[in-house]
């Protein structure tokens, strides 16, 4: 049995190592100073897809990302790790999209790809932290969804067994194909880039990246596996009214700078009396228990 898997990935500014220049005066992210990276939980999602590829030979993994042409870097990173092909969904019409417009555009691209068994994405992206896009895509495709997945255990008789991470433990669920799964950061880390794949795919590109490089264009043309798809709103037959800013009900009203202030630490002596006092206090205010 082989599967057709679509992995949703996003190129995000690396907000994990933020310096003082990370925000602009107006409170928006200064993308120029933050390196663009593969959204971490999308890498967890990719790993789950690559594991399925190992378990079920013949499985294909297609990476789909929405963003400017430079988001092709995310596709290349995926190819280096074992994905089979990639598509960048790129159009000015998609600019300014909130989660609703984003999931609309991605859903249109997924429909265009067609013939899919599984759509796997990260739980959320580190720039927006909404965790909405995966579930919204499932709704738009009218597919069941499993969120907070930690491990895709097996696919058998048209059903997928998934372990989910919950607040107080784990839960194993079974769901029918086709299915949308969003993967939690506690899942296995993604495998490293593979030396052979890096050498094979390093010249992979979307057409607009290499538009002015005749030599590279000819090189890619002779090797179809190096061509990364570059789809527009027209390619995926998207309704422009539902795309980008036009399709986004979310409007930013204002941005506020919030500075966290640390509360004073309290010191508890290491004796039964004080420990018991602390435990009682924590139970009383429902921190534990």
């Amino acid at each position: 049995m082989s599967l057709n898997i679509i992995v949703l990935a996003k190129q995000v500014p690396d907000t994990r190592n933020v310096g003082k220049d990370a925000m602009k005066e107006d409170g928006t992210i200064n993308r120029a100073v933050l390196p663009a990276i593969f959204n971490p939980e999308d890498l967890n999602a990719l790993e789950q897809a690559l594991k399925l590829k190992e378990m079920y030979p013949g499985t294909t993994v297609t990476l789909l990302t929405m963003g400017p042409a430079r988001a092709a870097e995310v596709i290349r990173e995926g190819l280096y790790r074992g994905a089979d092909r990639g598509i960048v969904l790129s159009d000015r019409a998609f600019a300014g999209a909130d989660t609703l417009a984003t999931s609309y555009a991605l859903n249109a691209a997924v429909r265009k790809i067609g013939n899919y068994d599984l759509i796997i994405g990260g739980r959320q992206a580190i720039d927006g932290d909404t965790a909405q896009v995966g579930p919204q895509i499932a709704e738009k495709l009218k597919l069941p969804q499993v969120t907070y997945a930690e491990e895709i255990i097996e696919v058998k008789d048209g059903k997928v067994v998934v372990k989910r991470r919950l607040e107080g433990g784990v839960e194993t669920v079974k769901a029918p194909l086709p299915l949308v799964i969003t993967v939690n950061g506690s899942a296995d880390e993604c495998r490293p880039r593979n030396a052979r794949n890096v050498q094979k795919y390093k010249y992979a590109a979307v057409p607009s990246e290499i538009a002015n490089d005749e030599e590279r264009k000819a090189f890619v043309a002779a090797r179809p596996y190096l061509e990364i798809g570059e789809w527009t709103a027209a390619t995926v037959e998207a309704d422009l009214a539902q795309c980008g800013l036009a399709g986004s009900p979310t409007k930013v009203k204002g941005i506020e700078n919030v500075v966290f202030t640390a509360k004073d630490a309290r010191r508890i002596e290491n004796n039964d009396e004080e420990l018991e006092g602390l435990i009682k206090e924590l139970i009383a205010n429902h921190t534990i228990g």
């Binding site: 190592n17 495998r191 880039r193 593979n194 030396a195 794949n197 050498q199 094979k200 390093k202």
Partner: protein, 568 residues
């Protein structure tokens, strides 16, 4: 989030050495694989870009995974269950990661599943892996046993075993026995040929690194009744066939993640490699030369780790109101550590390039007849590789021990506690000057290149190169050291007593080593001025060491040797 490749400018300097162009073009046979394999380079720049990218992967894995696991692996280590070795959890994860990253069989040709990398970038990977965890380097680095299969086994054996190594199966070289350590001529493990022509092995091997590997190269006595090296042959034992059990693993001082096994062979089926009787005199010598280069890389990696730990601590630790590195006595130690590290690394990569050149020519010679010029060049580099390998192994492993010692010294009392990485570095470093031939044995291999002039010829070639005006003074110093070396060699060989030469050999080899490393660093400085400081520190140090040996040799009366030699 550390990357041991991108945080270390020295690696790029050595990767981009001018000699690489020729090495790559020969290794790639003018890029003949370009249309056959989708991951083969199109041209020199493409190949170099690929090495750079792959080393970036290695650097990331080393920084994020192997280094992170090192302490845990050191504490928990491997164990034996039911005669099989179980690696520490961290080791398993390291190996799995390296397999998935396709970092096994890096130097093997593509048709057998490898990356067809020259030795030089492969050794760079070994350098980084060793910095991350010296013990893990042993397991990962044993992939270079595949070189021996590639060079000497028949085509069927190559096709059977090398793709398995490239896919991630591990290897071991089973040479040492309880009564055969440095003296491998005494190997007793018995190889017997059955009526159908197949071979079985019986006996015991000891101190076998990664002894429960998937594919073993075994040195065994195939010629009954013989007692010396001429009765030994090389075999492949495939673990899938069974017949070899692990009796125990050693409890070692360092490199604890690397299982050192005692093996019992009981009618273990094996395949003969190459010709009978050439096991020790040809194949093991080749195998050992590769392994020695690997230990030099391991030494450099450990030196790097020691230097970084020392520098960080010296900058952080405050005494008397300031960071201790601000005290000249401390700063001198750290700067000398850096100089020894840079000197070790430049010698390592000079040696790697020589090995690359002669090995590639050897390989080409199997495909076609070499041109007269090529033959000459092959011979030239073969001799240099032969001279530089023991020099590199000897010097870098001694420097690595010195750096490990100094790293603890910088840490003061804290360094003596088990809380800092320096104590593991110290324990891990200790083996480097012992295994794959002790420093004393490296001297035995190197001394003939002192007496036949291999080192001096190379030094004279370097002395003819132009250097920047500001480096003329250093060059004059190196020239002066060379004269002292020439005089010392004459003084020792003039006595015309082999015992006297043996007695003085280490001093002479070290003198050559300081001068060779000095010239290599001078050359590095011409390409990257950031090495100039280190060059000065090293040449000052080397000059004093050379003078010390010159003084000892110059004032030593040959008859005094009796004071040193043991007599009941």
């Amino acid at each position: 989030m550390a990357n041991f490749y991108t945080d270390n400018e020295a690696l790029k300097l050595h990767l981009n050495h001018p000699m690489m162009k020729k090495i790559v073009e020969l290794k790639e046979r003018n890029f003949a694989d370009a249309d056959k394999f989708d991951y083969a380079p199109q041209n020199f720049e493409d190949a170099m870009d690929s090495y750079d990218r792959v080393l970036d992967i290695v650097g990331e894995i080393c920084g994020d995974i192997i280094a992170e696991n090192a302490e845990d692996v050191d504490h928990n280590g491997p164990r034996v269950e039911n005669s099989r070795v179980i690696y520490a959890e961290g080791t398993k994860k390291n190996l799995d990661t390296c397999r998935k990253a396709g970092l096994m069989g890096m130097s093997m040709p593509r048709r057998l599943g490898g990356l067809n990398f020259p030795i030089t970038p492969y050794i760079m990977a070994a350098d980084m892996v060793s910095r991350a965890d010296a013990g893990f380097e042993n397991l990962w680095g044993l992939q270079d046993c595949a070189e021996t299969i590639y060079e000497f086994a028949d085509e069927a054996q190559k096709e059977k075993y090398i793709p398995r190594v490239c896919a991630g199966e591990t290897m071991s070289m089973d040479l040492t026995e309880p009564d055969a350590g440095s003296d491998l001529q005494s190997v007793m493990l018995k190889a017997s040929q059955k009526e159908d022509g197949s071979w079985v092995l019986n006996g015991v091997k000891r101190f076998i690194t990664n002894g429960d590997s998937d594919i073993h190269l075994v040195l065994a006595r195939s010629e009954e009744g013989t007692k010396d090296g001429r009765g030994l042959s090389m075999f492949i034992y495939d673990k899938r066939n069974g017949g070899v059990n692990v009796r125990r693993i050693e409890n070692k001082m360092g490199i604890k993640g690397s299982p050192t096994c005692e093996l019992v062979y009981k009618d273990a089926p094996a395949e003969l490699v190459g010709s009978r009787k050439l096991g020790l005199i040809k194949y093991v010598m080749a195998l050992m030369n590769g392994a020695r280069l690997g230990i030099a890389a391991q030494s450099v990696g450990i030196s790097e780790h020691a230097y970084r730990e020392a520098l960080d601590y010296a900058k952080e630790r405050k005494q008397f109101g300031k960071a201790i590195i601000e005290f000249p006595a401390v700063a001198e130690i750290v700067s000398l550590m850096k100089a020894k590290l840079d000197a070790s690394r430049t010698l390592l990569y000079a040696c790697s390039r020589f090995v690359d050149m002669y090995k590639i020519y050897d390989d080409i010679a199997k495909e076609r007849k070499l041109e007269v010029e090529e033959k000459k060049e092959a011979k030239f580099y073969s001799r240099l590789a032969d001279a530089f390998t023991p020099l590199a192994k000897g010097m870098t492993s001694e420097f690595c021990n010195q750096n490990a010692y100094d790293c603890i010294q910088i840490h003061g009392g804290s360094g003596f506690m088990k809380d800092y990485a320096c104590e593991q570095i110290y324990r891990d470093a200790r083996i480097t000057s012992i295994y794959e031939g002790t420093t004393q044995l490296q001297v035995v291999a190197a001394i003939r290149h002192v007496t036949t002039g291999t080192y001096l010829d190379w030094i004279k070639g370097e002395a003819e190169k132009q250097v920047a005006a500001e480096d003329e003074a250093v060059k004059a110093t190196l020239n002066f050291m060379t004269q002292q070396y020439i005089d010392a060699v004459e003084a020792v060989t003039g006595v015309n007593d082999p015992k006297f030469l043996d007695f003085m050999a280490r001093r002479l080899v070290e003198m050559a080593g300081y001068i060779v490393m000095g010239y290599l660093m001078l050359d590095d400085t011409q390409r990257d001025s950031s090495f100039r400081k280190s060059l000065h520190v090293f040449v000052n140090y080397g000059k004093a060491e050379v003078a010390k040996h010159a003084d000892f040799i110059g004032n030593f009366r040959p008859e005094e040797i009796s004071d040193y030699l043991y007599a009941e």
